[in-house]
Point group: C2
């Protein structure tokens, strides 16, 4: 099974995780609540680190709790064990084999802090290191570039946020239609292919997202690097204005996420300015007509709660990266130089 | 006074902060210790966010305490106030005028958490929002690109880490010679100019650092974006191997930091592999002969404690960015599109 098939498998993967994984995620949440956690620390690398960024915003917003992304090298290189205190520590890794992520979780468990593994490999070292494991059950991911395990990681985090946070009847009701929203996002493939074909010769890009969609910007940029060999630099739209704005010139490619939600008006204003003042080449993923009208549009389905949208909005981004690789004559099923499992310390 | 003069002013700025600022930093530290803090949250943007990354590693390593980088948009856009509990909250901003950084500090203070401003503007909104202010006293920074305020921010954080952490006689003794180590780093300017002249035509770059030097990699990449309009993507050497490795091809420019310390052997091994297997074009800043021999070298002074080296190692990086701008016919004193103070929400 190739990358495109794994991208297309995402509605089924997410539906299965919601149907079969929810009970165990709720049990994990109940254990955390019983332990009286007041902060969350997350350790992850690569694509999973973008799931960690999503967790930082979603758990931060819904639990009103500081969420820290761990610096694993403190443990593995400097030999320091942070005192985790009343923190829960979550390790995210599809393979469960990153020694640095395992080391952070193992250190936390030795200290008696509650530890959770989110992984597609429930027999992995990460799963063995943690008190509890959330099994993504996404099936084997054969392509080197992670796609379905990323959306599964986000879904697991969203279910954890729902279980730990306040009641949210709207999100609950929406969950049943999340797989069909992902399926609707897959239908932008012709637009993604056209957008890619028109940009086969680009030499670099900026990817902009904000709030919940900052994780999507990071993951989109990584897919462009892995699959397209394109230097793509992701920015929160706020940080972007502190300096990197200097990069822009007419025709410079900017890929942006601007779905409905609190950051949307600011995004539309900024993107309008980038277009008018700097004549950049804009590709915009949004469910809003005003945002889509600013450049080449990737229409996202409407009615998705903003904090669940990253599970949907990454799909057109994956498709753009896939087709941009093909438009450049690169085989997206075998990115050069990298392996599926990366064992960094 | 122009950018080059401000770069050259850094030994004096750091010497002044150590001489005049230390007492007040020790008072701030004593207050934090009296309050019984067990976690630190940092809010910052742009260059100051790289000082925050430095703080994450240095305070994390020396205090063995989780250090979280805040997501300010949770407060400003989503209206969520994290429960800061027993966290101290530090806002870093040279101008003290970033509304989003001010908002995080103000929220923490309302909750009764100890709050600290690190700023070059002791009358700014950020200073007024915090319980205590560490004044960088770096003098007015006229160039749009921050240089001397960045090294002053790192110095303030290092002094705070010394005051809060365990005794460190070696670091104490070294402090008196830190300004002369920065002065020694300024002497690589001819090499930096030569390195820049040889790379005037490059179209993008990767910047690699690890551990304490990850902050330097981030700041080096930002200077290349601001001053040189070069798409430069910073990576921790661990994350780099999870995907972005696919970017590499013969001649691809890689700027790397590899000074002595726990990550150094791994850095030298990785850089050697990048050179042998991928024939990248390497520029290496290090105090180690084996690292310098891997590419065009920027020699860092020896004898600098690894956790203080980022205050020194950024200097050759600034000089490379300055001279690369000039080699490309860009005026480094007035980067396009950006202003000195950026008021993002």
């Amino acid at each position: 099974m190739g990358l495109r098939e794994e991208i297309r498998e995402q509605p089924a993967v997410v539906a299965r995780l919601i149907a079969d994984g929810r009970d165990s995620i709720e049990r994990v949440a109940a254990t955390l609540q019983a332990r009286g956690v007041d902060e969350i620390v997350i350790a992850a690398r690569g694509t999973s680190d973008h799931a960690a960024v999503y967790a930082q915003y979603v758990l931060g917003a819904r639990l009103a709790m500081p969420v820290a992304l761990a610096a694993p090298s403190l443990v593995t290189l400097y030999g320091v064990e942070p005192k985790f205190g009343r923190s829960a520590v979550v390790g995210i890794s599809q393979s469960g084999e990153s020694p640095d992520v395992v080391a952070v979780v193992a250190a936390a468990r030795r200290q008696g802090a509650p530890t959770i593994a989110i992984t597609n490999s429930p027999d992995s070292p990460l799963a063995r290191a943690a008190d509890a494991t959330i099994d993504l059950a996404a099936g084997e991911e054969r392509a080197v570039a992670a796609t379905k395990t990323y959306t599964a990681e986000l879904t697991a985090i969203a279910l954890l946020a729902l279980a730990l946070g306040p009641q949210d009847a709207g999100a609950e009701a929406f969950l049943a239609t999340l797989p069909s929203a992902i399926a609707a996002a897959l239908e932008v493939e012709p637009a993604a292919e056209r957008i890619a074909a028109a940009r086969a010769g680009i030499g670099g890009a900026i990817v902009l997202g904000r709030g919940f969609e900052y994780a999507t910007a990071r993951e989109w940029a990584l897919k462009l690097k892995e699959l397209v060999r394109l230097l793509a630099d992701p920015y929160s739209s706020a940080d972007f204005q502190h300096g990197p704005l200097a990069l822009l010139e007419p025709g410079f490619p900017v890929f942006a996420l601007a779905p409905s939600g609190p950051p949307a008006d600011g995004q539309v204003e900024l993107l309008g300015r980038l277009r008018t003042d700097f004549q950049v080449d804009l590709v915009v993923a949004s469910d809003r007509d005003d945002a889509l009208a600013l450049g080449d549009g990737l229409r996202l389905p409407s009615g998705v709660p903003d904090w669940l949208m990253p599970i949907v909005s990454i799909v057109p981004a994956q498709l753009v990266a896939y087709h941009l690789a093909r438009a450049r004559g690169i085989d997206p099923d075998s990115p050069r130089h990298i392996r599926k499992v990366t064992r960094t310390r």
